[in-house]
Amino acid sequence: MRPTRTVEFSTGLFVLLGFAALFFLVTQITNRELTTNGKSYGVVALFENIGSLKPGAAVSMAGVTVGRVENISYDQQQYKAVVRMRINSQFDRIPKDSDASIMTSGLLGGQYIGITPGGDEQYLKQGDRIEFVQDAFVLENLINQLASTFLRRDQGAAEGGNQGGSQDKAPAEEPKR
């Protein structure tokens, strides 16, 4: 009727093992900073293209996470993406003219916002907007840019002189393909 000593012991061991495993998981496996449990202030930035930036992405300076992207929306007046971020209150010396760019961590990594400090003596406060932004890196745009650069170079060379620009011909043919 009453469980024997052995039964109770092994059950107790089992339960303790379970909690030990949970403890192990919580402390050793997770260390993602729960940034918004401290105080934070909100700033906003507008981008033409945010790439694959998602809410919850990190906001970092010099590689150190100082905040999180809280919310991303679209402004139909200015036709830009509105990214709201929360910066941890301990980082209160970010110059107003700092630069916010969307970067990619690693080859497969997610995108995040990197803030490069400017030189202004006034610092960002709650509700401020970061003026200087760099959009996400979009591969197609780069290829188009490269293509048009080569094209212009060809045309320039062709107009500038007809001195056997055979070297230029080869690269000029490629974009036309």
Binding site: V15, G18, L22, L25, R32
Partner: protein, 255 residues
């Protein structure tokens, strides 16, 4: 037309069974507080369903983790992202493999034990004898076993996850020489408390489902030897299917 009639009969049968299980669940829940007032019974059942399943859970957890390490490494290596093994392995085990595999193993070991034990009590009139002695078998037999199951499952799930991650580490760091520091640091920065909670919640839900099916099948087994056998088979099959369906639903909700 005959086919349609059969189909309708099957559908009606299915709906009736679902209703029967739901009502049974209600009765068990009603007796649960009473059962918990007799901790000795519950402790015994936690032992039967949980502690006795430890060996199989830990062994399978280790091997699942190690296989994940092997496959994961092979996969990530093609993209040059071996250091993501820690993250990938931990997330896979914590959110999916841990709860699901634990539930399937639980159904196979503890679920069948519960179903056959209760079914045997049904077949040898022990449950009826209890009713004749004015003891409610739901309170004395069923509810403690159900409570034991729902306590044991989340614990087993967590143990499986922990050992699984350890298994990933064994293969990744020891075998493939992935950098240990980046293994753990990448994992730490990508896996959050909410991922672990997701795994634990799944473990709890699967625990309720599998324990319920096991005690239901046992209680309603036909009082013969083959009835008990059928009940144990049905326990495993239905638990497995239900676990996977719930897994999809929960994953979709929590994503």
């Amino acid at each position: 037309m005959h086919f349609l009639r059969e189909l309708w009969d099957n559908v009606r049968e299915f709906i009736t069974t679902v209703g029967s299980v739901a009502l049974f669940f209600g009765r068990v829940l009603a007796q649960l507080p009473g059962a918990l007032l007799r901790p000795s019974l519950v402790v015994e059942q936690v032992h039967n369903t949980g502690a006795l399943s430890l060996v199989i859970i830990m062994t399978c957890g280790l091997f699942v983790g190690m296989v994940l390490g092997l496959t994961g490494y092979d996969l990530l290596q093609r993209f040059g992202s071996e250091e993501a093994l820690g993250t990938a392995g931990a997330l896979a085990v914590t959110k999916e493999l841990g709860p699901v595999v634990t539930a399937l193993l639980f159904a196979g070991r503890a679920g069948t034990a519960l179903a056959s034990e209760i079914g045997l009590m049904r077949a040898t009139d022990q449950l009826t004898a209890m009713e004749m002695m004015a003891v409610d078998p739901m309170r004395r037999v069923i509810a403690p076993r159900f409570a034991g199951g729902i306590i044991a499952m989340p614990l087993l799930t967590v143990i499986f996850i922990a050992i699984g991650i350890f298994g990933v580490q064994v293969v990744g760091v020891q075998l493939f020489k992935v950098d240990a520091a980046s293994f753990w640091s990448q994992m730490r920065s990508s896996v959050g408390l909410d991922d672990i909670m997701e795994g634990v919640v799944k473990g709890c839900v699967f625990g309720v489902a599998c324990s319920l099916i096991a005690v239901y099948e046992g209680y309603n087994a036909a009082p013969t030897a083959e009835g008990v056998g059928r009940a144990t088979t049905r326990t495993v099959v239905i638990s497995a299917v239900l676990t996977l369906i719930l897994d999809y639903i929960l994953t979709a909700i929590m994503l």
